[in-house]
């Protein structure tokens, strides 16, 4: 199994390290030809406008859409979730494949960035301890389509993780923790 991590900008190294700690072949992806033999792709946190612009410049958006159409799993964390969404409420380059409406910088500016614990039954896999989630200038899922499964909510009902068939989206950063449960869940989607 070979997983790519889109390495245009942002926290791609942390995803690669997490995957390698799980004995997965993980590679950094900067150009379209590097997508060819992948079984799955992670789009990391970073700045979504930056990632979208560089992806457009080097012709990555369409090949990633094709990967998604082929049924290969793609996971977006934070900025990655934004670029996967069909609707983000502003004009910027997107892959635009996931049937969700995202609100960017939904919690405010950096002073409002936060950490909290989440119960996410879908990924628990026997380990009942809550998932510690780090939200950094995070987006949220304002609404999701009928075909989208909600995986995690904050106490106030805000949707912060969801899955649609082979697409996975989280508004927080599992790659910044030492908890590999979300990465294992994604790898199960790939298997």
């Amino acid at each position: 199994m070979k997983i790519g991590v889109l390495a245009l900008q942002g926290a791609f190294r942390e995803h690669v390290q997490m995957l390698r700690s799980l004995n997965v072949d993980a590679v950094e992806v900067r150009l379209p030809e590097q997508l060819r033999d992948l079984d799955g792709l992670i789009i990391p946190g970073g700045e979504s406008t930056t990632i979208g612009k560089i992806a457009t410049q080097y012709g990555l958006l369409e090949p990633i859409r094709e990967m998604v159409a082929q049924g290969k799993p793609v996971w977006g964390t934070c900025a990655g979730m934004i670029v996967l969404a069909k609707d983000v409420g502003m004009r910027q380059p997107l892959i635009g494949v996931m049937d969700v409406k995202v609100k960017r910088n939904a919690f405010g500016r950096q002073v409002d960035s936060f950490e909290t614990d989440l119960d996410i039954p879908e990924i628990m896999n026997g380990d009942k301890s809550p998932f510690h989630a780090i939200f950094i200038r995070a987006p949220l899922l304002e609404s999701v389509g009928d075909n989208v499964q909600v995986l995690a909510k904050l106490e106030d009902g805000t949707i912060v993780a969801a899955r649609q068939a082979n697409l996975l989206a989280t508004s927080f950063h599992p790659e910044l923790t030492h908890d590999a449960r979300f990465h294992k869940y994604f790898l199960e989607m790939v298997r």
Partner: protein
């Protein structure tokens, strides 16, 4: 569980999201839009770019809040702003304005020649300049959640940024080769806390993200700093003091992503117009050097 704000993880975390990116100095909303459109991962809001501060002289202070708010409203990417070294009230003002990162910067005229800001007291994260590992670890000990090399701002001469990045990274490699019983003496020599020295020796890296700054003016300069081993770059005067800022800004963004691909760097370096004229860092007298501010 309740939400916890202002934690070390969220302060360091924002810097981690900026990695592999270019942070650009801007002085108004129009420049901020140009930077965002070019793919900047954040902007630094200030009244005068370092090259103008150098030329015009006088006391350089925190920007007018009106300017900072104008820039915050113009873009969706993070906005940083500078406070003078040791001027904790300027930092309080920037926190109240809601900027995303404070740069306690030697580019402004220092307000305190003995003490830096106690950055642990703030919910907002700070980035600080350094010339070597000891300086970096002293700033981290005070609460800096991101480090940048000082370079020599406003020159367009990359030589000091290279010197400082090589110093930091070289000293880290040196620590990695030491026996644990030598870390105590290393802490004394670096003028840095033992616990941080131990952490760096064991992990082989700083505990926070490390960018390059001060003199980067071309796509090749940015790629040079990335290949030397920094996590991203700040470009100050280099963009808006060049003949075609939008094109140059985009080229520097692309070269920072593809820093290991000389063909792409060659391609993006074509037809950029005139870079900032610049001034050789070596020709600057000690009184005009910005990097020596702070300790």
């Amino acid at each position: 569980m309740d939400k916890q704000v202002g934690t070390w993880a969220v302060k360091v975390g924002l810097a981690q999201m900026l990695k592999g990116g270019v942070i650009m100095d801007v002085t108004n909303a129009e420049q901020a839009k140009i930077a965002e459109d070019a793919g900047a991962c954040a902007v630094m809001a200030l009244e005068r770019v370092p090259a103008d501060i150098r030329k015009q002289g006088g006391v350089a202070r925190m920007s007018d809040p009106t300017k900072i708010i104008e820039i915050m409203e113009a873009v969706s990417i993070p906005v940083m702003a500078k406070a003078r070294i040791g001027h904790f009230v300027e930092a309080q003002v920037l926190e109240a304005l809601g900027v995303d990162y404070v740069d306690e910067s030697e580019v402004l005229t220092p307000a305190d020649e003995e003490n830096h800001i106690d950055k642990n007291q703030f919910n907002i994260p700070f980035v600080c300049g350094c010339r070597n590992l000891g300086e970096a670890l002293r700033r981290i000990n005070e609460g800096a959640a991101m480090i940048r090399t000082k370079g020599e701002a406003g020159t367009g001469d990359v030589v000091e940024a290279v010197r400082h990045a090589r110093a930091v990274l070289g000293e880290i490699r040196h620590l990695q080769n030491m026996r644990p019983d030598e870390w105590y003496r290393a802490a004394k020599d670096l003028g840095a806390p033992y616990e941080l020295v131990k952490e760096v020796a064991e992990t082989g890296k700083l505990p926070v993200v490390n960018f390059a700054a001060g003199g980067i003016a071309t796509p090749a300069d940015a790629a040079l700093m990335m290949q030397i081993g920094v996590d991203g770059v700040f470009v100050g005067s280099g963009i808006f003091k060049s003949s075609d800022p939008a094109v140059r800004a985009k080229a520097i963004v692309m070269a920072t992503t593809h820093y290991n691909d000389p063909k792409i760097i060659a391609d993006v370096s074509r037809g950029l117009g005139e870079p900032m004229l610049g001034i050789a860092a070596r020709s600057i007298g000690e009184a005009e050097q910005l990097a020596v501010r702070g300790w």
